[in-house]
């Protein structure tokens, strides 16, 4: 199978869905002529023109809120927020309008809206361009949260997201854009809300998503050589959470480590741990362990940035401690 980069997989999903459905359009900061800050929309403006690939002003509230207005009046917008860090400006639109409008209206409207954004550390960009804020979004009922780790998942899940009649926050990771992986040339769509067991194992379950998932796979590979069999689950979608896949794995391995780049306090690992205790407490042979981001604003210095997020070694250490 051919291998393409993560950014390219997303680009293909956008192009295919725009070709298929004239109600799909893109807007955001620098998405048209420039092709996106991380070049994800490159070529789309030339292909689809000014009306369907729209550069906006630097106005996150208007971008996200106008996405809602267009979505409830017959369009299927894909709006881009350049960095997830900028979602703060648009949070009223997301929390008070987008997530609630269908419920508040007694189900009498649909919101086919995708908010594409990107997050994560790794480029020493400091505190305003490196965050992992998914827990903000998973806390809000009424939106779905998708965070793919591979080009294959990125393409299939974005296509599904664009076809959904519900609002979706789709978060890419800046350090994944140039990672490559197999992506079929034939069309496919992946289900939202379904985790993927990326590696089978029997001694311990490792749950993660986005970039940290790749660290988990490398850690699992090395641990395998030391005789520890790790099952690695890629959540892919955080909301709705595929808790059944996690519980099924824990019933087999009896041990659970959750790894994510976001802050530990109030992070999504806490939610997973609580649900596993509610549903599979008797199957646990050890406390659930979390490997998470340090509870500090992301520092600039590269050594401090590295210390602030999980990596292969810290994940391996957590696994070994749990098995000790």
């Amino acid at each position: 199978m051919r291998e393409i980069a993560y950014w390219q997989a997303i680009n293909e999903a956008l192009a295919e869905e725009m070709t298929k459905d004239p109600s799909v359009f893109i807007m955001g900061e620098d998405v048209a002529i420039y092709g996106g800050a991380y070049a994800v929309t490159r070529g789309l403006h030339a292909k689809f023109g000014d009306e369907r690939v729209r550069d906006t002003a630097i106005s996150e509230a208007a971008i996200v809120g106008a996405g809602l207005g267009a979505a409830i009046t017959g369009m299927r917008p894909v709006v881009e927020i350049m960095y997830v860090d900028f979602m703060g400006i648009a949070m009223d639109q997301l929390n008070n309008q987008i997530a609630k409008i269908r419920y508040m209206f007694g189900g009498k409207t649909k919101v086919p809206l995708v908010i594409r954004t990107e997050g994560g550390a790794g480029r020493t960009l400091g505190a305003h361009h490196s965050q992992s804020l998914e827990a903000w979004f998973t806390h809000i009922p009424g939106i779905k949260v998708v965070m793919p780790s591979t080009p294959y998942d990125a393409k299939g899940l974005l296509k599904a997201a664009i076809r959904e009649d519900n609002p979706i926050v789709y978060i890419e990771h800046k350090m994944l854009y140039n990672t490559k992986g197999p992506v079929p040339e034939t069309e496919y769509v992946l289900p939202i809300g379904k985790a993927d067991v990326k590696k089978q194992g029997k001694d311990i379950t490792l749950v993660s998503w986005s970039l940290t998932l790749l660290h988990c796979l490398k850690a699992a590979e090395e641990l395998e050589k030391e005789g520890i069999s790790v099952e690695v689950i890629d959540l892919r979608t955080l909301a709705p959470l595929d808790i059944d896949t996690i519980v099924g794995s824990v019933q087999k391995t009896h041990r659970l480590v959750i790894a994510h780049e976001a802050w530990k306090t109030g992070g999504f690992a806490g939610e997973i741990a609580a649900q596993v205790m509610e549903k599979a407490f008797d199957h646990l042979d050890a406390p659930v362990s979390r490997v998470c981001g340090a509870d500090v604003p992301m520092p600039k210095a590269p050594n401090l940035e590295r210390l602030a997020i999980p990596n292969k070694e810290t994940i391996k250490k957590a696994v070994k401690e749990l098995l000790a």
């Binding site: 106005s59 106008a66 207005g69 409830i72 009046t73 369009m75 189900g107």
Partner: protein, 321 residues
Amino acid sequence: MSTSIDKGTAIFYLQKMMEIRQFEDKIMDLLAQNIAEGGSHLYAGEEAVAVGAMAALRPDDFITSTHRGHGHAIAKGGKLNELMAEILGKATGCCKGKGGSLHLADVSTGNLGANGIVGGGLAMAAGAGLSIKLRKTEQVTLCFIGDGATNQGVFHESLNMVGTWRLPVIYIVENNLYGMSVSVKRASAVTDLAKKAVPYNMPAVTVSGQDVLAVKDAVEAYVKNARAGKGPAMVVCDTYRYYGHSRSDPRVYRTKEEEKYWAEQDPIKLFSAKCVKEGLLSQKDVEELDKFVENEIEEATKFAIESPLPGDAELYTDLFA
């Protein structure tokens, strides 16, 4: 009369204004009796704005409403029974009892909803305007906002987007002089709110919000332009709410003299007097209409009170499509 209208039209405008007034008076009454619970921001006094503006629309045009949205919902064609039931949180309400006063919406009439957030409809209206442009229809979107919303950040982001892209959005600014208790003078760097359209390259006009025909004429002219692809505009309507911001408001920030002044500019009295003076309606026509509306409101109230609350199973429905 600023425009010539026929008797049927006069009756229609008067009826809609009376419906709003009596609807709001009834809710105040229900709140006092604790039959209606929670908050309600009442539109009494501002009827000519909603009715005049909506008179310029087609049924398939969109509106976004405000923090004070009952009048817009009625004027846009919402059913009184369903609106009253919604305010009481009943299963028969237009939002199945899940929205309430601050979230009155009826998408089937093009009403994209009142909003619990001041200025919450602004970005949505820009998106509805963009959707019209992309779908190449001749619809328009009326974005109702109060004077208070013109100070929100999203007001400026949204008007900039609409102005830049020349979207078919008309802003109807209901300047009732106070954002809750704080007067326009104390909250806004400019008190002539029409000036706030200028930086976004859209024309604006200020009219009496007590004069239903003046509102209609101003909105109609801009709507015609917007349908022809000539872009957005703003109509500032000077008006006044009779009740306080909400039921708990003792109105200490305004004077009795001011309230009396505005009571003399009552939009329903002004319009019915005009119609009678010009021979379009008789005093008897007006009285009969008032009685007719009273019956409508009584029926809506009875319907709402007798309707059931939503079933417990409704708690988790309607979250996702």
